[in-house]
Amino acid sequence: MTTNIKEKKYEAVAIGVSAGGLKALIKVFSNLPADFPIPIIVTQHLNPSEDSYLAEILNRITLLPVKEAMDKEKIKPGNIYIAPPNYHLLLERNETISLSNDEKVNYSRPSIDAMFESAAYAWSGNLIGIILTGASIDGANGIRVIKNFGGLTIAEDPKAAEYPMMPKTAVDTGAVDKILTLSEINKFLINLSGVDKRAE
């Protein structure tokens, strides 16, 4: 399924987030309509030795099904997939998920760069890449690849972010199309479904 913004068809949203992530994701996902038309894939840096309850928590605040991504799982529209702790989440061109145990990238596994890059290859220009709060440089390279392939790139406004380093590093690449606050990103996503239910 696809969704149109000014004649452009978007097929997936990829989100990278690190420190301060839970609060940010709750804001970004609030009031998303149940008929949200495309999949959302999230890579959040997590402590590798702990079980992740992120999917469980997010499930309570959005109508969309949120799940920890499984290896070789087929991606479905309107679902939110979270990278499991200690595995990179990669997207295949046939819209399935592959997990990987490869070395850390930017000291991180899961790595946002690894996810963004594979998503860019899978969806080319039909991908929206969003980078949120975090004290890391992970994701900046991935944002550049998404932009190179014609995708739309968004960063949380570093001035408003809880941890500005990650969105700022992405913005500094010059490959970010829009710099938005969390509630603006939330409105942007709601608008993707074609029905403006208004965030607040």
Binding site: Y87, L91, R93, S98
Partner: protein, 294 residues
């Protein structure tokens, strides 16, 4: 694949995809190493990483070197088969093996274990330690296989970086080790050398899950964090190979994020412990009866 006439305006990422297909085909036809059914996204990442290191300008430029220079091929295979592992990785899994699987293995007069994709061997030695502590080591035969000769050589030597010993010791304790981890190695300069007595029952051998076949009946097969690198076709092949090699009632231990969900024989296995991804092959006649009843 149907190829229609293109106007020369193929996207750069599609050209790269084609280049990678050609590279994999060359590796297979020239050297018999078949990465064509590996998880494509992983292979692409590694090919791109290798490209940056190699100094070539494009993936396809590497193909002539690959075809004519065996050393180049070997470095490429090394890049494709990098594995990350540690002693007692995911200690909880070893705890479940000890508590739920070993008691069943104890009922056999001899125990055959296959560790498929053992890489540099850390996890095989971890298993050996637990078997020994549970009094099972002497009746065990362990086959530790990998397709990467270089990794196997490292596994045979059993020499690891001293840096990781603290983590290994912690993992050992979490795994339910009952002794002191330090008795299983000697520190030497900046390395640890695994105690030779732990190698006695291990046979290291080259085996490729993509192309090779079963080599015997096993009571326990471990294959952790290998299947995630395969596509569905290859995952099924490997699982069928394990199924063929396991005695009825035998155990299969996979990586934490691997499952039998997309495999047609899923129903012939019972999960022993979901969190540890340990499955037991059902004793088939009963299993068929059960299926008929429902």
């Amino acid at each position: 694949m149907a190829v229609s006439v293109r106007n020369g305006n193929m996207k750069i990422q599609d050209i790269e995809n084609l280049e990678i297909s050609l590279l994999l085909e060359a590796m297979y036809q020239r050297y018999g190493y078949d990465f064509r059914d590996y998880s494509r996204a992983s292979v692409e990442r590694r090919a791109r990483q290798f490209l940056i290191k190699s100094g070539y300008k494009s993936i396809s430029q590497m193909i002539p070197a690959l075809l004519h220079d065996e050393l180049f091929f070997q470095t490429l295979v090394r890049e494709f088969s990098i594995t990350v592992t540690e002693m007692f990785r995911d200690p909880g899994v070893y705890k479940v093996l000890k508590e739920k699987v070993f008691p069943v293995l104890k009922t056999y007069p001899f125990i055959k274990i296959w560790h498929a994709g053992c890489a540099t061997g850390e996890e095989v030695y971890s298993l050996s330690i637990l078997l020994r502590e549970q009094g099972l080591y002497n009746r065990a035969t362990i086959f530790a296989t990998d397709f990467n000769d270089e990794a196997l050589e490292k596994a045979k030597q059993g020499i690891y970086n001293l840096e990781n010993v603290k983590q290994s010791t912690q993992n050992y304790q979490k795994a339910g080790g009952s002794e002191s981890f330090s008795q299983y190695y000697h520190a030497k300069y900046d390395s640890i050398v695994i105690d030779k007595s732990l190698q006695k029952k291990i046979t290291f051998a080259n085996h490729n899950l993509v192309t090779d076949h079963s080599f015997g009946e096993m009571h326990l097969i471990l294959c952790r964090n290998v299947l995630i690198y395969f596509n569905n076709t290859l995952q099924n092949r490997a699982l069928n190979l394990f199924d063929y090699s396991l005695v009825p009632g035998g155990f299969l231990c996979l990586g934490n994020k691997e499952s039998l969900l997309f495999w047609e024989k899923d129903k012939e296995y019972e999960s022993i412990e979901d969190s540890a991804k340990i499955f037991q092959r059902k004793y088939l006649p009963e299993c068929l009866n059960k299926t008929n009843d429902h």
